[in-house]
């Protein structure tokens, strides 16, 4: 058995042992089920949420806000990043704002977005957009600034002008940087949507989580935490698939041979 397989088996065994231990201790009354309900109870709540179809409206709200926020944030980050890297006065104006936004925990803007945009979807999307756009802005801006000068010289000595440089060097180089940040961006978009819902909303996983917390429903809280983890992981895998597809030049197996 390879080391990786052995490690996977060890992890699975440890996880199952932990769940069984938690279940046993909770049932035996060693830990208070009010604070830490047994895994079987958490699982029952998850199943109920789906069987009674109560979860779907919340899932729809959170996914919509996350994905729209991700798309708009990506587009905005790319446009602003290119503008700042290629037009000096844009960089002068944008860099301090972006540095400031990058330095603060951007979720503190959530109450302001609620005041400005109301408790419905737009305030959640706005928070996801801000979280994603700042990340992508720096990916693009640094991607262009750190572009391999040798490749620029190569294309110029082959006779390429600005358009060819943009197409052959800058855009692919920036794409690699942006895709490298895509997984983090997906997590940020989901965070933006959930935190926005947590602050003030009428539906969404964040809203449901806030409801569970205010009613001291630990089983529902845990069920939602696991659900959010599962969905973020699912989006992570989708982002990774996109990255591998678009950066296949980087991932394809190495077959180097002697000259």
């Amino acid at each position: 058995m390879s080391y990786l397989k052995k490690a996977a088996v060890r992890r699975a065994v440890a996880l199952i042992a932990l769940v069984l231990l938690w279940e046993g201790l909770s049932r035996a009354g060693v830990i208070n089920p009010f604070y830490a309900p047994p895994p079987s109870e958490v699982l029952r709540v998850v199943i109920t949420l789906f069987v009674e179809r109560t979860i779907f409206t919340h899932l729809e709200a959170t996914f919509f806000a996350s994905l729209v926020g991700l798309g708009v944030g990506l587009a905005l980050g790319v446009v602003l990043g290119f503008a700042a890297a290629l037009i000096p006065w844009v960089a002068d104006v944008l860099e301090p704002i972006m540095l400031l936004l990058n330095a603060i925990p951007r979720v503190i803007l959530a109450p302001l977005f609620v005041i400005w945009l109301g408790i419905e979807m737009p305030s959640k999307i706005a928070l996801a957009v801000v979280l994603v756009a700042v990340l992508i802005f720096f990916a693009v801006y640094n991607g262009i600034k750190d572009v391999n000068q040798l490749l620029v010289d190569r294309v110029r000595t082959l006779g390429g002008g600005r358009r060819v440089l943009l197409r052959e060097v800058y855009i692919p180089s920036v794409t690699a940087w942006v895709l490298g940040s895509l997984k983090v961006a997906v997590g940020f978009a989901f965070t933006g949507a959930c935190v926005g819902e947590f602050v003030a909303a009428t539906r969404g996983l964040g809203y449901l989580l806030q409801f569970a917390q205010s009613t001291y429903n630990a089983a529902l809280t845990m069920a939602l935490i696991f659900l959010i983890m599962a969905f973020v992981l699912l989006l992570f895998f989708c982002a990774e698939a996109v990255e591998r597809r678009l950066l296949r030049w980087r991932y394809r197996g190495s077959g180097a041979r002697a000259a």
Partner: protein, 252 residues
């Protein structure tokens, strides 16, 4: 083919080279040797137009379109296959994609890389990448090759093999070459003329040497030519003297 007249270049306020005069005749192989940091690469960059001269001028027959520049690093686009990399220069010259790629395949075959066209640079060995870079340049049918220590990173066997192949190609096609190298033996083996630069900055040409070894050349038999060792000794002595002189100046 190429005349460099009173050329001076620098970065910011620092002069790197000044009053450089040199000539590369049609079909001749010229090398620039000198201590590290003497601005050899800057001369090539100025000739290719990558660097604007502060003074002097570059006269090039056929303009920049007749130039091919082989860098020390292979500088292939990592997101393009070997075929697309070779085709890039042709596409810039308005070849259609199928025409450029079929031409690129022909060049890859000629350089012993038939069947490797679909591979990305990271899937090739150092020697193979270097051949792709050579194919990329030769596909544009340059009249003058600028080479900046192009094989320095290769191991001895691959380096010798590729150097000989390129030498054969240059002789067969009557190409002119301006090679930058710090390897005096390599310079003597391949060149018709060698320019020695002083240790800058600012560096200048302090001497030139004609190498009377007949063509076509073979890397191994060139070294057995009667003029090879005396010339090598002279080059060594002159370069050491140039370096001692600047060390003495620095010590003062």
């Amino acid at each position: 083919m190429l005349r460099v007249i009173d050329l001076a270049v620098g970065y910011n306020h620092e002069p790197v080279i000044e009053k450089i005069n040199l000539e590369v005749g049609a079909g001749s192989f010229v090398s620039l040797v000198g201590p590290s940091g003497s601005g050899k690469t800057s001369i090539l960059r100025a000739v290719s137009g990558l660097l604007a001269p502060r003074a002097g001028r570059v006269e090039l027959e056929g303009g920049s379109g007749s130039l091919g520049f082989l860098f020390q690093d292979d500088a292939l686009l990592p997101w393009r296959s070997a075929r697309e990399n070779v085709a890039l220069g042709l596409r810039i010259r308005k070849y259609s994609r199928p025409a450029a790629e079929s031409e690129a395949d022909g060049w890859l075959r000629r350089l012993g890389l038939g069947g490797f066209g679909g591979r990305f640079p990271h899937e090739l060995s150092g020697g193979q990448r270097k051949r792709v870079a050579i194919a990329q340049i030769l596909a544009l049918k340059p009249k003058l090759l600028l080479m900046d220590e192009p094989f320095a990173s290769l191991d001895a066997i691959v380096r010798t093999r590729i150097t000989q192949e390129l030498l054969d190609w240059v002789e067969r096609e009557h190409l002119s070459v301006l090679l930058v190298t710090h390897d005096l033996e390599e310079a003597l083996t391949v060149s018709d003329r060698i320019y020695l630069l002083s240790e800058g900055p600012p560096a200048r040409v302090i001497r030139s040497y004609d190498v009377p070894i007949p063509r076509p050349r073979d890397i191994f038999s060139s070294r057995k030519h009667a003029d090879f060792n005396p010339l090598l000794e002279r080059l060594w002595r002159d370069m050491s003297a140039a370096m001692n002189l600047s060390e003495a100046a620095a010590a003062r």
